[in-house]
């Protein structure tokens, strides 16, 4: 439990919106030391996201470079009103990874462990309480396991409908409607 608490704390630290907003604001003013601090704070997390999607370390690190070049160039476009600077940074990384995947991706090989949901999904801890994170995990809980697996494979591994269909051995049409319906349930649950 102590380890879980430790990593939870690190995540909360990296996710501190006010700090990230301040750093992005300084980046928009061409402050390189703020850029360095932002990199130190979020690059390891973004690399984890990219590795999960791209699998290859070299490729993920190349894409991480693209991401930070873009962050420096677009820092002024981050809209503080929309909030959640970490979500903005993650989205930049994920979209770049999706663009890189498009075209040349070798035939996908998934091992069993990647098809399993991680324990956090099934058991939102007491620490999640009424948090936004807790709400998302609770809402995911309400989706039937095969459908939920589609969402997780698409989001975390960056799989297309076709790739999910092959990985799970289900028809393409089934996967498409599972994804569509589970996204609808998620939205209804998050904002009843």
């Amino acid at each position: 439990m102590s380890q879980a608490e430790g990593s939870g704390h690190a995540t909360a630290d990296a996710a501190d919106s006010a700090v990230l907003e301040a750093l992005l604001g300084r980046c928009a003013n061409q402050d390189r030391s703020a850029f360095e601090a932002l990199y130190a704070r979020v690059a390891p997390m973004l690399l984890a996201v990219l590795l999960q999607m791209l699998k290859k370390r070299d490729l993920a690190e190349d894409v991480l470079q693209d991401v930070f070049v873009k962050v420096w160039q677009q820092a002024a476009q981050f809209d503080a009103i929309r909030g959640r600077p970490l979500a903005w940074l993650i989205a930049i990384a994920r979209y770049r990874a999706i663009d890189v995947q498009r075209g040349a991706r070798p035939t996908l090989v998934l091992d069993e462990s990647q098809l399993e949901l991680e324990p956090q999904f099934q058991v939102p801890g007491p620490a999640d309480g009424g948090s936004v994170r807790g709400a998302l995990l609770r809402c995911l809980e309400l989706i039937a396991p095969p459908q939920r697996r589609c969402l997780v494979l698409a989001y975390e591994q960056g799989l297309t409908h076709g790739e999910i269909a092959r990985a799970l051995g289900e028809p393409l049409g089934t996967i498409k409607s599972w994804v569509r319906r589970s996204l609808q349930s998620l939205r209804r649950c998050l904002e009843p």
Binding site: M45, F68, A91, L190
Partner: protein
């Protein structure tokens, strides 16, 4: 296809963020987001919600080459690369130019000690050096450095009558060359002292020291000429 229907917009936004909207449909939706606030609002909401799944991953430390590459792409060549390129150009142009550049390069790379940092004179931890033209700092780790878990040492210029200006996080080992911004050069030029504070990893999030000041030392005056 019309994008006006809210339920269609919602589905496209969700699948765009999830990543299952691909190819031409993905690019068309990106273009739509450029002109439609309704599309952007939906995308941002999904990014905020699903981003939580990414934030729980165990972080992976990138190789040092990643940061170096970002610096090269955004701020130009690193000094070592630049001198290599200068030498190559010189070889093409001619020997006379080569000699000229060599002399200039020697002047550029000749470093003077700006300050020696440590808790006291007998326990130096870093030596800060500057080229004659104050465009960068070379920071050499010369003694044991242990900021403790989850902490970093940050270097500050203390300009006379002004607020401390960050000169970046200090290395825990090895030598680091750091280019100076205009603001950092101005601050250093009017600083009689440098300070080191204990900060979160990556340095102070606010632009001012947030942790205890652990070292304050005098700047060694640059030799004239």
């Amino acid at each position: 296809m019309t994008y006006e229907r809210p339920e269609l917009l919602e589905r496209l936004a969700a699948e765009y963020v999830l990543g299952t909207l691909r190819g031409g449909a993905r690019r068309r939706f990106e273009r739509l987001c450029g002109v439609s606030a309704a599309a952007r609002v939906r995308v941002h909401r999904w990014e905020d919600d699903l981003g939580i799944l990414s934030a729980r991953l165990a972080p992976v430390q990138p190789a040092a080459r990643v940061w170096a590459g970002i610096g090269r792409r955004l701020f130009g060549a690193q000094p070592a690369r630049r001198s290599a390129r200068l030498a190559l150009a010189a070889a093409v142009v001619g020997l006379a130019l080569l000699v000229g550049l060599f002399v200039r390069e020697q002047q550029r790379t000749h470093l003077e000690t700006l300050a020696v940092l440590g808790p006291d004179a007998a326990h130096a931890q870093w030596r800060i050096e500057r080229p004659h033209e104050l465009t960068s700092l070379t920071i050499r780790t010369v003694g044991p450095v242990a900021p403790g878990a989850g902490k970093a040492y940050e270097l500050w210029a203390l300009p006379t009558g002004g607020r401390p200006v960050s000169l970046g996080v200090l290395p825990v080992g090895g030598t680091l060359e750091r280019a100076l911004s205009g603001a950092q050069r101005t601050a250093l030029a009017t600083s009689d002292k440098l300070a080191v504070s204990l900060e979160p990893p990556g340095g102070s999030p606010t632009g001012a020291p947030t942790g205890p000041i652990v070292i304050v030392v005098d700047v060694i005056a640059a030799r004239a000429g």
